[in-house]
């Protein structure tokens, strides 16, 4: 779960990481009030989950509270990279003398946390040369020791109080990462301002699997399309709209990807990625099929290799939908695995002759889609 910038900064403050003075507000009036409290030139930042807000006009500066109100009014309600802005962060404007980059995340290949830092922070961090980026893998049992934090500071060329401030921040970031079950704690830029380093931005991603034990973190609902919301409510593991005309359901991320790949190799255009997951039962699966139909595709292609997912559940879900809304477009079903005999029997009753192999089924779906579109 991605957190908004202001949420990350609230946690930073709790863990003792320096952040600019400021607060999240919902209205231009409150933005003005906060600007008065700050009593200095401010920055007004749209709070959305996408990056590149600056380029999209989602960040404005204000020298006076009145200007802050105007800027807030402009930003609130605008759309940044498809996300409607509902919250803004009003903060003191920092005197920026340098921009560093620092993040802690999990390096899956190393099965370990990794600290990544660079003296060249800011917008274009991803484009920095390899030699300008310092990476250190941590040991999960040892955590981040002070000497490692100091060595990182040294390697990005910091000295004196800046080195101390940086080492302190990176240790606190690690503590926060572990205590908050974060997958990512990122500061970009970490701003050099006089003798201190200050977190001018925050990116904090909490491990979805650990939300159950992080009750004090407010839930952030990532902006979803209507269809994605429906899929989420139906208990579908993962659903992404792709815009083609063959609506696809499979079970398992790997086989779903492989189904899409196969459809595309045969010249078809998938309407979506839908990993139905395992064990959603008849009703959940029926809802998922309704979502497929709601995309108004030319063909529905269901590809099931039953394991935890039972073939009879999927067949009954299909039958249930067909009884309810009929078969507005052709259904191509491939079905093998757990309880397949019963599944095939149920399908036959509603007039579907299921395939046993994936390739001919995918081919058939593509042919039908082309026929249907013609």
């Amino acid at each position: 779960m991605k957190c908004f910038e202001y949420m990350g900064k609230e946690f930073f403050a709790k863990f003792g990481i320096p952040v600019p003075k400021g607060r999240m507000v919902l209205t231009p009036e409150d933005a003005e009030k906060v600007a008065v409290e700050i009593g200095k030139p401010c920055v007004i930042k749209s709070q959305v989950l996408s990056g590149k807000r600056g380029k999209a006009g989602g960040i404005k500066f204000a020298d006076t509270p009145a200007e802050a109100k105007v800027a807030a009014d402009a930003i609130l309600g605008m759309t940044v990279q498809g996300h409607k802005v509902e919250r803004i962060l009003v903060e003191e404007k920092l005197k920026i003398e340098g921009e560093l980059y620092v993040a802690i995340t999990i390096d899956g290949a190393a099965r370990a946390p990794v600290v990544i830092t660079s003296a060249k922070g800011g917008m274009d961090i991803e484009e920095q040369a390899e030699e300008d980026i310092v990476k250190v893998n941590l040991d999960v049992f040892l955590g981040l020791q002070p000497f490692q934090a100091k060595e990182l500071a040294r390697r990005i060329g910091l000295k004196g109080n800046l080195a101390k401030g940086f080492a302190d921040i990176v240790q606190k970031m690690y503590k926060m990462m572990v205590e908050k079950d974060a997958e990512l704690v990122e500061i970009n830029p970490l701003v050099i301002s006089g003798d201190s380093v200050i977190a001018a931005d925050s990116k904090l991603t909490i491990d979805d699997s650990a939300l159950y034990r992080q009750k004090d973190i407010p839930y952030v609902d990532e902006e979803k399309t209507e269809m994605e919301k429906m899929a989420h409510e139906a208990g579908v593991g993962c659903f992404v709209e792709l815009g083609g005309d063959i609506a696809i359901m499979a079970n398992g991320a790997g086989i779903t990807m492989a189904t899409l790949d196969t459809v595309q190799l045969y010249g078809g255009a998938p309407a979506n990625f839908m990993d139905a997951g395992g064990g959603t039962g008849v009703d959940g699966t029926a809802k998922a099929i309704e979502i497929l139909l709601a995309q108004k595709p030319n063909v529905v292609f269901v590809n099931i290799f039953g394991g935890i997912t039972r073939c009879d559940d999927v067949a009954n879900a299909l039958a249930q939908v067909i009884k309810k809304v009929g078969m507005p477009v052709p259904f191509v079903v491939r079905m093998v695995g757990t309880n397949q005999e019963e599944g095939l029997r149920v399908l036959k009753e509603v007039g579907i002759e299921a395939f046993r192999d994936m390739a001919p089924a995918a081919k058939k779906a593509v042919e039908l889609a082309k026929g249907g579109a013609a």
Partner: protein, 287 residues
Amino acid sequence: MAILVNADSKVMIQGITGKQGTFHLKQMQAFGTQVVAGVAPGKGGGIHEGVPLYDTVYEACKNHQIDAAVLFIPAPFCKDAALEAIESGVKVIVVVTEHIPVHDEMIIVNRGKQKGATIIGPNTFGMASWKCKLGIMPNIAFSPGPVGVVARSGTLTYEIVGSLTNIGIGQTSVVGLGGDKCPGSSFVQMLKMFEADPDTKAVVLIGEIGGNAEEEASEYIKTMSKPVVAYLAGKSAPPGKRMGHAGAIIERGKGTYEGKVKALTAAGAKVATFPHEVRDLIKEHLK
């Protein structure tokens, strides 16, 4: 023979009396797995589907030789259950559960490494050698034979292994590494075992986009004497979720379909375009 476990292996199930545990216990028994002990706190001393129950892993291990453990444990308690198996000296541990917090996962897999335990999973269908299935995959897909299979994803493995079985090509062992960020085992570890296993004549590697596991594997495949056939899912996938800049920096230039195909091909592996092509390529190699 096979890798990691075989028909003689003695297996313990943690969380044996739950709905999942019970269902898959029966499936495993039907496959031929020797389940000799089950752990179910508070039920020690009882019998479940013919299997003696113990309150703790320590007790089970005191009373039985345990070659492998399978965990059917809810995610919040998996760290504790996996550590219990590791610290008790179990050497093959299959963690089926998905949605384990990644910080727990790092502790499990790194502790396993320290203690010389092979962790399969988390978030895996498990593994099977002939007559010894540890996990949740459908029994019918498997048959004994000369092909080693190692995979990152589940149903796709059933798909490909099933297609091999259908044309009479069996498997020495089939291993699912699991779909999580920090899997306990790697392609390379399994490939090494397949290379060393005299009964394995060819290996199937089932990968997907993202991460650098396939690139790592390619380095080892270069040194292998046995043929490797790979299939990678995700050629047409839209760009996945990204985690800030850090993910992009770690993975620089790795993880794409094209990159992986290039690495595997350069290492001498054949990469199948369709899942069903795998069986044809394997058939070539076994001629």
